[in-house]
Amino acid sequence: MTNAIEAEGLIKKYGDVVALDGLDLEVAEGTVMGLLGPNGAGKTTTVRILTTLLVPDAGRATVVGHDVVSDARALRRVIGLSGQNAAVDEHLTGFENLDMVGRLYHLGRTRSRERAHELLERFDLVEAGGRPAKGYSGGMRRRLDLAAALVAEPPVLFLDEPTTGLDPRGRLGMWDVIADLVRGGTTLLLTTQYLEEADRLADKIAVIDHGTVIAQGTADELKAQVGGERIEFTLTDAGQIGAACAALASLGSGAARTDASARRVTLPVDGGAAVLVAAIRELDAAGIAVQDVGLRRPTLDDVFLSLTGHAAEIEAEQADDEPDTGQQDSSQQDSSQQKEVASR
Protein backbone atom coordinates (compact mmCIF):
# COMPACT_ATOMS: atom_id res chain seq x y z
CA MET A 1 0.00 0.00 0.00
CA THR A 2 1.35 3.45 -0.82
CA ASN A 3 1.53 6.21 1.71
CA ALA A 4 -0.59 9.30 1.25
CA ILE A 5 1.34 11.16 3.91
CA GLU A 6 5.01 10.78 4.77
CA ALA A 7 6.99 12.83 7.25
CA GLU A 8 10.58 12.29 8.23
CA GLY A 9 12.48 13.95 11.05
CA LEU A 10 10.30 17.05 11.23
CA ILE A 11 11.72 19.69 13.53
CA LYS A 12 10.06 23.00 14.39
CA LYS A 13 11.21 25.41 17.05
CA TYR A 14 9.56 28.59 18.29
CA GLY A 15 12.44 30.43 19.92
CA ASP A 16 13.59 28.09 22.68
CA VAL A 17 10.45 26.00 22.62
CA VAL A 18 10.79 22.82 20.62
CA ALA A 19 7.38 22.09 19.12
CA LEU A 20 8.47 19.17 16.94
CA ASP A 21 11.56 17.16 17.78
CA GLY A 22 12.21 14.84 14.85
CA LEU A 23 8.70 13.61 14.15
CA ASP A 24 8.25 10.68 11.75
CA LEU A 25 4.88 9.68 10.40
CA GLU A 26 3.45 7.52 7.64
CA VAL A 27 -0.20 7.33 6.73
CA ALA A 28 -1.27 4.71 4.21
CA GLU A 29 -3.64 5.75 1.46
CA GLY A 30 -7.30 5.40 2.37
CA THR A 31 -6.70 4.96 6.10
CA VAL A 32 -7.44 7.07 9.14
CA MET A 33 -4.53 8.07 11.33
CA GLY A 34 -5.28 9.50 14.75
CA LEU A 35 -2.66 11.81 16.25
CA LEU A 36 -3.23 11.54 19.95
CA GLY A 37 -1.52 13.71 22.49
CA PRO A 38 -1.97 16.28 25.25
CA ASN A 39 -2.07 20.03 24.64
CA GLY A 40 1.24 21.31 23.36
CA ALA A 41 2.43 17.87 22.22
CA GLY A 42 2.92 19.09 18.66
CA LYS A 43 -0.27 17.82 17.01
CA THR A 44 -1.35 21.12 15.55
CA THR A 45 2.19 22.01 14.48
CA THR A 46 2.35 18.72 12.57
CA VAL A 47 -0.92 19.45 10.80
CA ARG A 48 0.18 23.01 10.01
CA ILE A 49 3.39 21.75 8.42
CA LEU A 50 1.61 19.06 6.41
CA THR A 51 -0.92 21.59 5.14
CA THR A 52 1.84 24.07 4.12
CA LEU A 53 0.88 26.67 6.72
CA LEU A 54 4.25 26.33 8.44
CA VAL A 55 7.67 25.59 7.04
CA PRO A 56 9.62 23.05 9.13
CA ASP A 57 13.09 24.00 10.40
CA ALA A 58 14.38 20.58 9.35
CA GLY A 59 13.11 17.29 7.98
CA ARG A 60 10.92 16.61 4.97
CA ALA A 61 7.31 15.72 4.35
CA THR A 62 5.13 14.88 1.38
CA VAL A 63 1.40 14.58 0.85
CA VAL A 64 0.41 12.44 -2.16
CA GLY A 65 3.96 12.87 -3.38
CA HIS A 66 3.97 16.68 -3.19
CA ASP A 67 6.68 18.18 -1.02
CA VAL A 68 5.24 20.53 1.63
CA VAL A 69 7.81 23.22 0.91
CA SER A 70 8.87 23.03 -2.73
CA ASP A 71 5.53 21.90 -4.13
CA ALA A 72 3.14 23.70 -1.78
CA ARG A 73 0.77 25.11 -4.37
CA ALA A 74 0.14 21.70 -6.01
CA LEU A 75 -0.19 20.09 -2.60
CA ARG A 76 -2.98 22.51 -1.65
CA ARG A 77 -5.05 21.23 -4.56
CA VAL A 78 -5.24 17.74 -3.05
CA ILE A 79 -5.93 18.52 0.60
CA GLY A 80 -8.79 19.77 2.71
CA LEU A 81 -8.22 21.30 6.14
CA SER A 82 -10.62 21.83 8.96
CA GLY A 83 -8.85 23.61 11.77
CA GLN A 84 -9.25 23.89 15.49
CA ASN A 85 -11.28 27.08 15.62
CA ALA A 86 -13.87 26.60 12.93
CA ALA A 87 -12.57 29.02 10.32
CA VAL A 88 -15.78 30.00 8.63
CA ASP A 89 -16.55 33.62 7.84
CA GLU A 90 -19.32 34.47 10.25
CA HIS A 91 -20.64 37.34 8.16
CA LEU A 92 -21.17 35.14 5.12
CA THR A 93 -24.04 32.69 4.92
CA GLY A 94 -23.33 28.98 4.92
CA PHE A 95 -23.87 28.92 1.19
CA GLU A 96 -21.62 31.93 0.55
CA ASN A 97 -18.84 30.36 2.60
CA LEU A 98 -18.88 27.14 0.59
CA ASP A 99 -19.32 28.94 -2.72
CA MET A 100 -16.32 31.16 -1.95
CA VAL A 101 -14.12 28.19 -1.10
CA GLY A 102 -15.20 26.47 -4.32
CA ARG A 103 -14.23 29.54 -6.33
CA LEU A 104 -10.86 29.66 -4.62
CA TYR A 105 -10.27 25.99 -5.52
CA HIS A 106 -11.05 27.20 -9.07
CA LEU A 107 -14.02 24.91 -9.55
CA GLY A 108 -15.74 27.59 -11.61
CA ARG A 109 -18.92 29.50 -10.87
CA THR A 110 -21.48 26.83 -11.75
CA ARG A 111 -19.68 23.91 -10.15
CA SER A 112 -18.95 25.93 -6.97
CA ARG A 113 -22.64 26.67 -6.51
CA GLU A 114 -23.66 23.09 -7.19
CA ARG A 115 -21.11 21.80 -4.77
CA ALA A 116 -22.19 24.28 -2.08
CA HIS A 117 -25.79 23.06 -2.36
CA GLU A 118 -24.69 19.41 -2.28
CA LEU A 119 -22.65 19.94 0.87
CA LEU A 120 -25.33 21.95 2.67
CA GLU A 121 -27.66 19.05 2.06
CA ARG A 122 -25.17 16.42 3.14
CA PHE A 123 -24.35 18.25 6.37
CA ASP A 124 -27.92 19.02 7.27
CA LEU A 125 -27.49 22.76 6.78
CA VAL A 126 -30.00 23.40 4.00
CA GLU A 127 -32.29 25.51 6.21
CA ALA A 128 -29.42 27.43 7.77
CA GLY A 129 -27.60 27.81 4.45
CA GLY A 130 -29.14 31.21 3.74
CA ARG A 131 -28.33 32.70 7.12
CA PRO A 132 -25.02 34.29 8.18
CA ALA A 133 -22.87 31.75 10.03
CA LYS A 134 -22.74 34.15 12.99
CA GLY A 135 -26.01 32.70 14.25
CA TYR A 136 -24.95 29.07 13.95
CA SER A 137 -24.47 26.78 16.95
CA GLY A 138 -21.01 25.38 17.64
CA GLY A 139 -21.94 22.09 16.03
CA MET A 140 -23.32 23.77 12.92
CA ARG A 141 -20.16 25.83 12.52
CA ARG A 142 -18.05 22.72 12.78
CA ARG A 143 -20.14 20.99 10.17
CA LEU A 144 -19.86 24.00 7.88
CA ASP A 145 -16.11 24.12 8.44
CA LEU A 146 -15.82 20.44 7.63
CA ALA A 147 -17.99 20.94 4.56
CA ALA A 148 -15.62 23.71 3.45
CA ALA A 149 -12.71 21.27 3.72
CA LEU A 150 -14.58 18.86 1.44
CA VAL A 151 -15.53 21.31 -1.31
CA ALA A 152 -12.91 20.06 -3.78
CA GLU A 153 -13.39 16.41 -2.77
CA PRO A 154 -9.73 16.20 -1.75
CA PRO A 155 -8.13 12.75 -1.48
CA VAL A 156 -6.42 13.74 1.79
CA LEU A 157 -8.19 15.41 4.65
CA PHE A 158 -6.76 17.00 7.81
CA LEU A 159 -9.02 17.51 10.79
CA ASP A 160 -7.44 19.31 13.74
CA GLU A 161 -9.42 18.48 16.88
CA PRO A 162 -12.74 18.31 15.05
CA THR A 163 -14.85 17.89 18.16
CA THR A 164 -13.06 20.06 20.72
CA GLY A 165 -15.58 22.34 22.36
CA LEU A 166 -18.64 20.44 21.19
CA ASP A 167 -21.24 19.10 23.61
CA PRO A 168 -21.60 15.30 23.78
CA ARG A 169 -24.46 15.27 21.31
CA GLY A 170 -22.57 17.43 18.84
CA ARG A 171 -19.56 15.17 19.23
CA LEU A 172 -21.53 12.02 18.46
CA GLY A 173 -23.04 13.70 15.42
CA MET A 174 -19.59 14.74 14.20
CA TRP A 175 -18.27 11.19 14.66
CA ASP A 176 -21.00 9.83 12.45
CA VAL A 177 -20.22 12.40 9.80
CA ILE A 178 -16.49 11.60 9.88
CA ALA A 179 -17.01 7.83 9.92
CA ASP A 180 -19.28 8.19 6.92
CA LEU A 181 -16.72 10.24 5.10
CA VAL A 182 -13.80 7.84 5.42
CA ARG A 183 -15.93 4.99 4.17
CA GLY A 184 -15.58 6.71 0.81
CA GLY A 185 -11.82 6.07 0.79
CA THR A 186 -10.52 9.46 1.87
CA THR A 187 -7.19 9.44 3.69
CA LEU A 188 -7.69 11.21 6.97
CA LEU A 189 -5.27 12.61 9.51
CA LEU A 190 -7.13 13.48 12.66
CA THR A 191 -5.75 15.06 15.81
CA THR A 192 -7.51 14.62 19.09
CA GLN A 193 -7.14 14.73 22.84
CA TYR A 194 -9.99 12.29 23.23
CA LEU A 195 -9.00 8.65 23.37
CA GLU A 196 -12.50 7.55 22.70
CA GLU A 197 -12.46 9.53 19.50
CA ALA A 198 -9.20 8.00 18.27
CA ASP A 199 -10.43 4.54 19.29
CA ARG A 200 -13.64 5.01 17.39
CA LEU A 201 -12.45 6.70 14.23
CA ALA A 202 -8.82 5.82 13.60
CA ASP A 203 -7.37 2.73 11.94
CA LYS A 204 -4.01 3.57 13.43
CA ILE A 205 -3.04 5.81 16.28
CA ALA A 206 0.20 7.71 16.82
CA VAL A 207 0.65 8.94 20.36
CA ILE A 208 2.75 12.08 20.33
CA ASP A 209 4.34 13.94 23.17
CA HIS A 210 7.05 16.61 23.31
CA GLY A 211 7.12 16.70 19.52
CA THR A 212 7.82 13.05 18.74
CA VAL A 213 5.79 9.92 18.18
CA ILE A 214 6.23 7.86 21.33
CA ALA A 215 4.02 4.94 20.37
CA GLN A 216 2.19 3.83 17.29
CA GLY A 217 -0.20 1.10 16.24
CA THR A 218 -3.83 0.09 16.17
CA ALA A 219 -5.90 0.76 19.26
CA ASP A 220 -5.62 -2.94 20.17
CA GLU A 221 -1.87 -3.00 19.72
CA LEU A 222 -1.48 0.00 21.96
CA LYS A 223 -3.68 -1.53 24.61
CA ALA A 224 -1.63 -4.71 24.43
CA GLN A 225 1.49 -2.67 25.18
CA VAL A 226 0.01 -1.65 28.50
CA GLY A 227 -0.89 -5.20 29.43
CA GLY A 228 -3.78 -7.65 29.26
CA GLU A 229 -6.83 -8.14 31.40
CA ARG A 230 -6.65 -8.23 35.14
CA ILE A 231 -8.94 -8.73 38.09
CA GLU A 232 -8.83 -6.25 40.94
CA PHE A 233 -9.98 -7.32 44.39
CA THR A 234 -10.45 -4.98 47.30
CA LEU A 235 -10.49 -6.98 50.51
CA THR A 236 -12.35 -6.10 53.69
CA ASP A 237 -9.35 -7.00 55.84
CA ALA A 238 -5.80 -6.17 54.81
CA GLY A 239 -4.55 -9.01 56.98
CA GLN A 240 -5.99 -11.53 54.51
CA ILE A 241 -3.91 -10.35 51.57
CA GLY A 242 -1.42 -13.18 51.89
CA ALA A 243 -4.16 -15.78 52.10
CA ALA A 244 -5.90 -14.27 49.07
CA CYS A 245 -2.73 -14.49 47.01
CA ALA A 246 -2.31 -18.12 47.90
CA ALA A 247 -5.91 -18.93 47.00
CA LEU A 248 -5.65 -17.17 43.65
CA ALA A 249 -2.19 -18.42 42.68
CA SER A 250 -3.37 -21.11 40.27
CA LEU A 251 -5.78 -18.84 38.40
CA GLY A 252 -3.52 -15.97 37.29
CA SER A 253 -1.50 -15.71 34.14
CA GLY A 254 1.22 -14.13 36.25
CA ALA A 255 2.01 -13.29 39.84
CA ALA A 256 -0.56 -11.31 41.80
CA ARG A 257 0.44 -7.82 42.89
CA THR A 258 -0.61 -6.38 46.16
CA ASP A 259 -1.16 -3.02 47.76
CA ALA A 260 -1.69 -3.34 51.50
CA SER A 261 -2.70 0.27 52.13
CA ALA A 262 -5.51 0.00 49.58
CA ARG A 263 -6.26 -3.63 50.69
CA ARG A 264 -5.93 -4.50 47.05
CA VAL A 265 -4.85 -7.58 45.12
CA THR A 266 -4.42 -7.34 41.35
CA LEU A 267 -4.24 -10.55 39.35
CA PRO A 268 -3.30 -10.66 35.66
CA VAL A 269 -5.55 -13.18 33.89
CA ASP A 270 -6.40 -14.77 30.57
CA GLY A 271 -9.97 -15.83 30.10
CA GLY A 272 -12.01 -12.95 31.42
CA ALA A 273 -15.30 -13.49 33.17
CA ALA A 274 -14.91 -17.26 33.61
CA VAL A 275 -11.77 -16.70 35.67
CA LEU A 276 -13.54 -14.00 37.62
CA VAL A 277 -16.23 -16.45 38.71
CA ALA A 278 -13.65 -19.10 39.63
CA ALA A 279 -11.64 -16.56 41.58
CA ILE A 280 -14.63 -15.46 43.64
CA ARG A 281 -15.40 -19.10 44.45
CA GLU A 282 -11.82 -19.70 45.59
CA LEU A 283 -11.85 -16.66 47.86
CA ASP A 284 -15.25 -17.59 49.25
CA ALA A 285 -14.06 -21.15 49.96
CA ALA A 286 -11.02 -19.74 51.76
CA GLY A 287 -13.26 -17.52 53.86
CA ILE A 288 -11.81 -14.26 52.56
CA ALA A 289 -14.26 -11.32 52.61
CA VAL A 290 -14.22 -9.20 49.48
CA GLN A 291 -15.48 -5.65 49.49
CA ASP A 292 -15.19 -5.00 45.75
CA VAL A 293 -14.10 -6.92 42.72
CA GLY A 294 -13.85 -6.09 39.03
CA LEU A 295 -12.48 -7.32 35.74
CA ARG A 296 -10.48 -4.62 34.04
CA ARG A 297 -9.41 -4.36 30.45
CA PRO A 298 -6.82 -1.77 29.54
CA THR A 299 -8.34 1.26 27.88
CA LEU A 300 -6.69 3.81 25.67
CA ASP A 301 -6.82 5.99 28.77
CA ASP A 302 -4.37 3.62 30.37
CA VAL A 303 -2.17 3.81 27.30
CA PHE A 304 -2.39 7.55 27.16
CA LEU A 305 -1.64 8.12 30.79
CA SER A 306 1.08 5.53 30.92
CA LEU A 307 2.77 7.13 27.94
CA THR A 308 2.19 10.83 28.35
CA GLY A 309 0.87 11.54 31.84
CA HIS A 310 3.68 9.58 33.32
CA ALA A 311 6.30 11.08 31.12
CA ALA A 312 5.20 14.51 32.16
CA GLU A 313 5.32 13.77 35.85
CA ILE A 314 8.33 11.53 36.17
CA GLU A 315 10.77 14.39 36.41
CA ALA A 316 9.03 15.81 39.44
CA GLU A 317 8.12 12.57 41.12
CA GLN A 318 10.27 9.65 42.08
CA ALA A 319 8.90 6.69 40.16
CA ASP A 320 8.45 3.63 42.31
CA ASP A 321 7.94 0.03 41.44
CA GLU A 322 4.19 0.12 41.52
CA PRO A 323 3.11 -1.96 38.54
CA ASP A 324 0.46 -1.04 36.08
CA THR A 325 -2.90 -1.30 37.71
CA GLY A 326 -4.81 1.12 35.60
CA GLN A 327 -5.85 4.67 35.88
CA GLN A 328 -5.56 5.43 39.57
CA ASP A 329 -1.97 4.35 39.75
CA SER A 330 -0.80 5.39 36.38
CA SER A 331 0.96 8.45 37.68
CA GLN A 332 3.35 6.21 39.57
CA GLN A 333 4.16 3.68 36.96
CA ASP A 334 7.47 2.07 36.40
CA SER A 335 9.61 4.06 34.03
CA SER A 336 10.95 0.92 32.41
CA GLN A 337 7.60 0.20 30.88
CA GLN A 338 7.46 3.58 29.31
CA LYS A 339 10.90 3.18 27.84
CA GLU A 340 10.03 -0.19 26.48
CA VAL A 341 6.99 1.15 24.70
CA ALA A 342 8.83 4.17 23.41
CA SER A 343 11.58 2.03 21.92
CA ARG A 344 9.24 0.11 19.65
Binding site: D89, R103, L104
Partner: protein, 267 residues
Amino acid sequence: MSAMTEAAGDAFVITKRNLIKIKRVPDLLVFTTLSPIMFVLLFAYVFGSAINVPGVGYKEFLIAGIFVQTVVFGSTFTGYSLAEDLQKGIIDRFRSLPMAPSAVLYGRTLSDVVNNVISLAVMALTGLLVGWRIHTSFAGAVLGFVLILLFAYAISWVMALVGLLVRTPEIVNNAAFIVIFPLTFIANTFVPTNNFPEPLKTFANWNPVSAVTQAAREQFGNTSPLLPVPDVWALQHAVAYSLIWVILLLVVFIPLSIRQYGKAASR
Protein backbone atom coordinates in the same frame (compact mmCIF):
# COMPACT_ATOMS: atom_id res chain seq x y z
CA MET B 1 -6.18 30.00 -17.08
CA SER B 2 -3.02 32.05 -16.88
CA ALA B 3 -1.58 32.83 -13.49
CA MET B 4 -2.50 36.51 -13.81
CA THR B 5 -6.17 35.91 -14.64
CA GLU B 6 -6.36 33.32 -11.92
CA ALA B 7 -4.90 35.75 -9.37
CA ALA B 8 -7.28 38.48 -10.50
CA GLY B 9 -10.22 36.08 -10.22
CA ASP B 10 -9.17 35.09 -6.69
CA ALA B 11 -8.80 38.76 -5.69
CA PHE B 12 -12.29 39.41 -7.06
CA VAL B 13 -13.73 36.56 -4.94
CA ILE B 14 -12.08 38.02 -1.82
CA THR B 15 -13.23 41.56 -2.65
CA LYS B 16 -16.77 40.29 -2.97
CA ARG B 17 -16.49 38.52 0.36
CA ASN B 18 -15.30 41.72 2.06
CA LEU B 19 -18.06 43.81 0.51
CA ILE B 20 -20.71 41.38 1.74
CA LYS B 21 -19.40 42.13 5.21
CA ILE B 22 -20.03 45.87 4.76
CA LYS B 23 -23.61 44.99 3.89
CA ARG B 24 -24.06 42.57 6.83
CA VAL B 25 -22.47 44.60 9.60
CA PRO B 26 -24.36 47.88 9.89
CA ASP B 27 -21.98 49.14 12.60
CA LEU B 28 -19.25 49.34 9.97
CA LEU B 29 -21.39 51.41 7.67
CA VAL B 30 -22.20 53.72 10.55
CA PHE B 31 -18.49 54.12 11.17
CA THR B 32 -17.72 54.82 7.51
CA THR B 33 -20.57 57.32 7.09
CA LEU B 34 -21.34 58.98 10.41
CA SER B 35 -17.85 59.70 11.63
CA PRO B 36 -16.88 61.64 8.48
CA ILE B 37 -20.05 63.72 8.85
CA MET B 38 -19.13 64.35 12.46
CA PHE B 39 -15.60 65.41 11.53
CA VAL B 40 -16.77 67.84 8.86
CA LEU B 41 -19.30 69.45 11.20
CA LEU B 42 -16.97 69.57 14.21
CA PHE B 43 -14.08 71.15 12.36
CA ALA B 44 -16.22 73.44 10.25
CA TYR B 45 -18.06 74.95 13.18
CA VAL B 46 -15.78 74.52 16.20
CA PHE B 47 -12.39 75.30 14.63
CA GLY B 48 -14.01 77.35 11.90
CA SER B 49 -15.34 79.78 14.50
CA ALA B 50 -11.82 80.62 15.67
CA ILE B 51 -9.54 80.05 12.69
CA ASN B 52 -9.33 82.60 9.96
CA VAL B 53 -7.67 81.69 6.69
CA PRO B 54 -7.06 84.84 4.66
CA GLY B 55 -8.69 85.05 1.25
CA VAL B 56 -10.79 81.94 1.50
CA GLY B 57 -13.43 80.76 3.98
CA TYR B 58 -12.22 78.22 6.56
CA LYS B 59 -14.73 75.67 5.33
CA GLU B 60 -13.27 75.91 1.82
CA PHE B 61 -9.78 75.46 3.22
CA LEU B 62 -10.74 72.68 5.61
CA ILE B 63 -12.60 70.18 3.43
CA ALA B 64 -9.63 68.82 1.47
CA GLY B 65 -7.75 68.36 4.76
CA ILE B 66 -10.66 66.48 6.33
CA PHE B 67 -10.92 64.29 3.23
CA VAL B 68 -7.27 63.29 3.43
CA GLN B 69 -7.30 62.73 7.17
CA THR B 70 -10.42 60.59 7.06
CA VAL B 71 -9.27 58.29 4.26
CA VAL B 72 -5.85 57.85 5.85
CA PHE B 73 -7.57 56.81 9.09
CA GLY B 74 -9.95 54.71 7.02
CA SER B 75 -7.06 52.73 5.60
CA THR B 76 -6.26 51.37 9.07
CA PHE B 77 -9.34 49.24 8.49
CA THR B 78 -7.21 47.19 6.07
CA GLY B 79 -4.82 46.23 8.84
CA TYR B 80 -7.61 45.75 11.36
CA SER B 81 -9.50 43.36 9.09
CA LEU B 82 -6.44 41.33 8.20
CA ALA B 83 -5.46 40.98 11.86
CA GLU B 84 -9.02 39.89 12.59
CA ASP B 85 -9.01 37.30 9.80
CA LEU B 86 -5.68 36.04 11.07
CA GLN B 87 -6.98 35.79 14.62
CA LYS B 88 -10.10 33.94 13.56
CA GLY B 89 -8.17 31.39 11.50
CA ILE B 90 -9.68 32.52 8.20
CA ILE B 91 -6.24 33.33 6.80
CA ASP B 92 -5.26 29.73 7.65
CA ARG B 93 -8.11 28.49 5.53
CA PHE B 94 -7.14 30.78 2.64
CA ARG B 95 -3.52 29.74 2.92
CA SER B 96 -4.45 26.05 2.70
CA LEU B 97 -6.31 26.69 -0.59
CA PRO B 98 -4.61 26.61 -4.01
CA MET B 99 -5.31 30.32 -4.54
CA ALA B 100 -2.91 33.12 -5.49
CA PRO B 101 -1.06 34.21 -2.34
CA SER B 102 -1.50 37.88 -3.27
CA ALA B 103 -5.28 37.62 -3.70
CA VAL B 104 -6.25 38.07 -0.06
CA LEU B 105 -4.26 41.32 0.11
CA TYR B 106 -5.38 42.73 -3.23
CA GLY B 107 -8.96 41.79 -2.41
CA ARG B 108 -8.69 43.45 0.97
CA THR B 109 -7.12 46.69 -0.21
CA LEU B 110 -9.53 46.96 -3.14
CA SER B 111 -12.62 46.50 -1.00
CA ASP B 112 -11.25 49.13 1.36
CA VAL B 113 -11.16 51.56 -1.57
CA VAL B 114 -14.92 51.07 -1.71
CA ASN B 115 -15.08 51.99 1.97
CA ASN B 116 -13.13 55.14 1.32
CA VAL B 117 -15.28 56.05 -1.69
CA ILE B 118 -18.35 55.84 0.53
CA SER B 119 -16.66 58.03 3.15
CA LEU B 120 -15.59 60.58 0.56
CA ALA B 121 -19.05 60.76 -0.98
CA VAL B 122 -20.66 61.33 2.40
CA MET B 123 -18.09 63.97 3.35
CA ALA B 124 -18.43 65.74 0.01
CA LEU B 125 -22.21 65.95 0.44
CA THR B 126 -21.84 67.21 4.00
CA GLY B 127 -19.23 69.70 2.77
CA LEU B 128 -21.58 71.00 0.09
CA LEU B 129 -24.26 71.43 2.76
CA VAL B 130 -22.02 73.55 4.99
CA GLY B 131 -20.90 75.76 2.12
CA TRP B 132 -17.88 74.08 0.48
CA ARG B 133 -17.75 74.41 -3.32
CA ILE B 134 -15.59 73.09 -6.13
CA HIS B 135 -14.48 76.06 -8.25
CA THR B 136 -12.72 74.22 -11.02
CA SER B 137 -13.90 71.73 -13.63
CA PHE B 138 -15.43 68.29 -13.27
CA ALA B 139 -12.12 66.81 -14.43
CA GLY B 140 -10.27 68.74 -11.75
CA ALA B 141 -12.62 67.45 -9.08
CA VAL B 142 -12.22 63.86 -10.28
CA LEU B 143 -8.44 64.19 -10.32
CA GLY B 144 -8.52 65.55 -6.77
CA PHE B 145 -10.61 62.64 -5.49
CA VAL B 146 -8.54 60.05 -7.39
CA LEU B 147 -5.35 61.43 -5.90
CA ILE B 148 -6.77 61.19 -2.38
CA LEU B 149 -7.95 57.61 -3.02
CA LEU B 150 -4.58 56.60 -4.47
CA PHE B 151 -2.79 57.91 -1.41
CA ALA B 152 -5.22 56.06 0.87
CA TYR B 153 -4.67 52.90 -1.18
CA ALA B 154 -0.91 53.16 -0.68
CA ILE B 155 -1.38 53.67 3.07
CA SER B 156 -3.66 50.59 3.05
CA TRP B 157 -0.67 48.47 2.03
CA VAL B 158 1.38 49.87 4.91
CA MET B 159 -1.47 48.95 7.24
CA ALA B 160 -1.74 45.51 5.64
CA LEU B 161 1.82 44.78 6.71
CA VAL B 162 1.10 46.06 10.22
CA GLY B 163 -2.06 43.93 10.40
CA LEU B 164 -0.13 40.80 9.43
CA LEU B 165 2.61 41.48 11.97
CA VAL B 166 0.56 42.09 15.12
CA ARG B 167 -1.47 39.62 17.10
CA THR B 168 -4.78 41.35 17.65
CA PRO B 169 -6.85 43.80 15.58
CA GLU B 170 -6.95 46.28 18.48
CA ILE B 171 -3.19 46.70 18.32
CA VAL B 172 -3.50 47.82 14.70
CA ASN B 173 -5.84 50.61 15.75
CA ASN B 174 -3.66 51.72 18.64
CA ALA B 175 -0.45 51.59 16.65
CA ALA B 176 -2.01 53.37 13.70
CA PHE B 177 -3.42 56.07 15.94
CA ILE B 178 0.02 56.90 17.35
CA VAL B 179 1.46 57.34 13.85
CA ILE B 180 -1.48 58.69 11.89
CA PHE B 181 -2.61 61.31 14.37
CA PRO B 182 0.62 63.33 14.26
CA LEU B 183 1.03 62.60 10.57
CA THR B 184 -2.34 64.15 9.72
CA PHE B 185 -2.08 67.01 12.22
CA ILE B 186 1.52 68.15 11.66
CA ALA B 187 0.46 69.14 8.19
CA ASN B 188 -1.52 71.79 6.35
CA THR B 189 -4.73 69.81 6.82
CA PHE B 190 -6.45 72.04 9.39
CA VAL B 191 -4.34 75.20 9.57
CA PRO B 192 -1.77 76.81 7.26
CA THR B 193 1.78 75.83 8.16
CA ASN B 194 3.33 79.36 7.99
CA ASN B 195 3.22 79.94 11.73
CA PHE B 196 4.44 76.46 12.75
CA PRO B 197 7.67 76.56 14.75
CA GLU B 198 10.73 74.98 13.13
CA PRO B 199 11.31 71.98 12.82
CA LEU B 200 7.58 71.20 12.80
CA LYS B 201 7.25 73.49 9.82
CA THR B 202 9.83 71.59 7.75
CA PHE B 203 8.21 68.29 8.68
CA ALA B 204 4.76 69.60 7.77
CA ASN B 205 5.92 70.99 4.44
CA TRP B 206 7.53 67.71 3.37
CA ASN B 207 4.81 65.56 4.90
CA PRO B 208 3.06 63.68 2.06
CA VAL B 209 -0.27 64.34 3.79
CA SER B 210 0.34 68.07 3.22
CA ALA B 211 1.19 67.49 -0.43
CA VAL B 212 -1.93 65.43 -1.07
CA THR B 213 -4.05 68.04 0.73
CA GLN B 214 -2.42 70.87 -1.22
CA ALA B 215 -2.90 68.98 -4.50
CA ALA B 216 -6.58 68.36 -3.71
CA ARG B 217 -7.13 72.03 -2.82
CA GLU B 218 -5.58 73.03 -6.12
CA GLN B 219 -7.75 70.59 -8.05
CA PHE B 220 -10.90 71.74 -6.23
CA GLY B 221 -10.00 75.43 -6.52
CA ASN B 222 -9.95 75.91 -2.74
CA THR B 223 -6.61 77.75 -2.57
CA SER B 224 -6.31 81.32 -1.41
CA PRO B 225 -4.50 84.04 -3.38
CA LEU B 226 -3.54 85.64 -0.06
CA LEU B 227 -1.95 82.45 1.22
CA PRO B 228 1.18 81.71 -0.83
CA VAL B 229 2.24 78.08 -1.16
CA PRO B 230 5.34 77.52 1.02
CA ASP B 231 8.50 77.63 -1.05
CA VAL B 232 9.41 73.95 -0.85
CA TRP B 233 9.52 71.62 -3.84
CA ALA B 234 7.07 69.18 -2.24
CA LEU B 235 4.27 71.74 -2.10
CA GLN B 236 5.19 73.65 -5.25
CA HIS B 237 4.80 70.35 -7.12
CA ALA B 238 2.13 68.83 -4.90
CA VAL B 239 0.65 66.43 -7.46
CA ALA B 240 4.01 65.04 -8.54
CA TYR B 241 5.29 64.76 -4.95
CA SER B 242 2.08 62.98 -3.91
CA LEU B 243 2.39 60.50 -6.77
CA ILE B 244 6.04 59.83 -5.91
CA TRP B 245 4.95 58.87 -2.39
CA VAL B 246 2.15 56.67 -3.67
CA ILE B 247 4.51 54.78 -5.98
CA LEU B 248 7.21 54.55 -3.33
CA LEU B 249 4.84 53.13 -0.71
CA LEU B 250 3.34 50.62 -3.15
CA VAL B 251 6.72 49.44 -4.45
CA VAL B 252 7.98 48.87 -0.92
CA PHE B 253 4.91 47.61 0.90
CA ILE B 254 3.19 45.37 -1.66
CA PRO B 255 6.07 42.86 -1.81
CA LEU B 256 6.72 43.14 1.94
CA SER B 257 3.06 42.48 2.78
CA ILE B 258 2.76 39.57 0.37
CA ARG B 259 5.90 38.04 1.84
CA GLN B 260 4.58 38.46 5.36
CA TYR B 261 1.25 36.93 4.32
CA GLY B 262 3.12 33.80 3.26
CA LYS B 263 4.65 33.54 6.70
CA ALA B 264 1.73 34.73 8.77
CA ALA B 265 0.70 32.22 11.37
CA SER B 266 -2.30 32.66 13.58
CA ARG B 267 -1.57 32.79 17.32
